[in-house]
Symmetry: C2
Subunit: 431 residues, 2 copies
């Protein structure tokens, strides 16, 4: 029996035969007591090694003043040192007066921005969001579980919008936001999206910038987490959303976020947010009650190490050199194990941290569980949807960055076996 047989065209006997041999392979793996983790988009040790010399850029013998002369060891600088603003302005494609530097986590900046919107509103709000009976967010899905967790925590009702090949289903988005003024925001990972690896098309970005929203204080939460995280020499182009919003006459519509978590260190990076000067002034005034200023020494470290966009790009090429063989292993293995069988479909991203795989409806949870039983941990099935509920139970997020190529080979083989077993179970049950 060849690998490239369409499961949907097999008869019961063929399926049973196939199941038996797959089950044998599965049990063999299970007996190996493996412990492989593909659950989170976590850089591997070799990637962390790339930035270690950053730790040597700020020592006791170095100059510890920012470019404006301020002492980075002392209080001050609520929105960051000038050189950090300049660097992140380049990364995000905005002006440096449109940037606020944060602590180590962009997730924190997103969480805090929405918490603040709940308690105070955003720039231009008539009232705090929490004063409304309901606040809703559009959640293009599959998407990032930690975005959804913020909404869930804050009792923000999440409305699933399908991800198409070039971004969220904009017909659905436009129809929803034009009619319901309780819809206050949309989550977007516009480049190499988590988990689909999709980059929003020019048209999608423009429609987001131009669409009529019933809520006058509607905001796009633009999590540009993978803006420089390419896997090829020909990065996906992404239209500048802040410029698009300005041109559309909606300059205050978007908040951009990014961090160096996957550029330098997840455990000791620098995060930033951006938006119109009005948005940023409003945020700065709220943030100045929360802190006297984030860690300036770590900003200094980062700007000394990353310098400018040219250096960022060549630094990210080193990350790509480590990640590319991993993605290729996963994609190659998926192809050799699952291609042509009509039971699984996956994306081939040009960047980012994930490969998104869809099984037959109803097979994701059981496949992920079987893989876990055989020692291969994946992101929980359903996690890529609001409330952890994948309506079709089919999406599996694969995070290839942390395991070694060898481990990935095994892991994907195990996962592929599990998907096939689950698929046969389903097909037999339906016959």
């Amino acid at each position: 029996m060849g690998h490239h047989t369409d499961f949907l065209n097999m008869n019961i006997e063929q399926l049973n035969q196939h199941y038996a041999s797959l089950k044998e392979r599965y049990d063999e793996y299970k007996n190996q007591n493996m412990k492989l983790d593909m659950s989170r988009g976590k850089p591997c040790p070799e990637q962390l090694e790339l930035s270690k010399s950053m730790l040597d850029t700020v020592t006791s013998s170095d100059r510890l003043q920012a470019s404006d002369g301020s002492d980075c060891l002392n209080y001050g600088g609520v929105d960051g040192i000038p050189e950090a603003k300049e660097l992140f302005a380049q990364i995000l494609g905005v002006s440096s007066n449109e940037v606020i530097i944060g602590g180590s986590s962009s997730l924190t900046m997103m969480h805090d921005t929405i918490s603040r919107a709940m308690l105070h509103g955003v720039y231009g709000s008539e009232q705090p969001w929490v004063k409304q009976p309901t606040v809703k967010f559009l959640c293009p899905s599959p998407g990032y579980d930690r975005h959804f967790a913020i909404c869930e925590l804050l009792n923000i009702e999440m409305i699933v919008v399908d991800m198409l090949h070039d971004g969220p289903d904009m017909d659905a988005v436009e129809a929803l936001v034009s009619q319901d003024d309780s819809i206050k925001g949309i989550w977007c990972v516009p480049k190499y999206s988590n988990p689909d690896g999709i980059t929003y098309s020019h048209q999608v970005v423009n429609r987001l910038a131009n669409m009529k929203t019933k809520a006058r204080d509607f905001r796009i939460f633009w999590d540009d987490a993978y803006s420089v995280h390419h896997l090829t020499d020909q990065p996906d182009p992404l239209t500048n959303v802040l410029s698009a919003c300005k041109e559309a006459g909606n300059p205050d519509r978007v908040f951009l976020f990014c961090s160096t978590s996957k550029i330098t260190f997840p455990g000791a990076g620098v995060a930033a947010m951006a938006g119109s000067v009005e948005n940023i002034n409003y945020m700065r005034s709220l943030i100045s009650v929360q802190t006297i200023g984030p860690d300036k020494i770590n900003q200094l470290r980062h700007t000394r190490f990353l310098k400018d966009m040219d250096h960022v790009r060549s630094h990210m090429a080193k990350h790509a050199a480590i990640l590319k063989p991993k993605f290729e292993m996963v994609l190659g293995k998926l192809e050799s194990e699952l291609d042509g069988k009509n039971i699984a479909f996956w994306n081939k991203p040009n960047g980012g941290y994930f490969i998104s795989l869809n099984t037959l409806d109803g097979c994701a949870k059981i496949a992920v569980k079987m893989a876990a039983d055989a020692g291969v941990t994946l992101t929980a099935a359903g996690a890529t949807f609001p409330y952890g509920r994948d309506p079709r139970d089919r999406n599996i997020r694969i995070a290839p960055s942390f395991p070694s190529v060898k481990e990935l080979e095994k892991s994907i083989e195990v996962l592929s076996i599990c998907i096939q077993l689950a698929s046969i179970d389903k097909i037999l049950l339906e016959q």
Copy 2:
């Protein structure tokens, strides 16, 4: 005319004579175009120098694992690395499982704790605080302006409680909290309080721990900012508030906060909070939606540099050696300029960052303004009270840490002249 003349016993002629000679001195200073800043409790460069070698404890050639083996460069550790929890547990006098490590700012942890209480309630709350028509906090005053700013931002009504010689007026506190269930919290800087330099007595701590509160989810916000910031060899003793609360049967009543801002670097320190395991578990679950974890490398840096309480103590003795002559200059100058005149009264703190000075009623604002006109910047008069309103307009906060001893000599002389001029104006007006 001697320095030690009681102004209240002078006749009009004497006062006018005195005024003229003071005015002459004032104008002389004014013509010098000085620029001296005593407005914020900011460590001076010599103090920052004490911790610079901390920057050399984590370089590319060092081990970057925490004591539990986790890689400090990578994701994880939402509440801190074990050795950081251990160190801060010692500083705060709690167990390490009662600690959460944050980013660089304890102010942020306080702000976020109250924001969370507004949106979700605290452990044991029946509903989010924001659902109540009014939320009130007790504000022992004079106090820390940034505490008050958090309340003001969140529309929390502030009730002034007088600071007595051993802490807040507990008769007033007990009467208020026992009757009004909208009073949800009290701000405390229990050791070397900002600005009075008062340390709460054993009795005050015990009354806070034991008092009956009508709000079942009442919380003490215990900002232990100066716990190890002594100016003498015989530090003020402070009763352990968490132990006291546990003994009183109110284990969840208190949140403790501290940071290394004034131990290592204000611009790149580490903050922590503490409380009962129940409080901490509740907070951790909320924080885990906000961040994957704070900067672990900076935690490593701090634990390697500060090591343990013995090292913290000897390190803080070096701070004291720098600060003590500054406090002595201020106190000595105040004494030589103002003592015996019956127009100003000040504290002599055993630690902390401030000297709190009270003028005759109605003289603080004008004295601070006159000083500013002569180039000496002080914390805005009134800032030590909620809403920036000092009901008696008499409190002036002096922050001696940043200027040099020489600058302090001049600054306090100018301030003393201003206070005398304002006092004579007042006395003459009332005669």
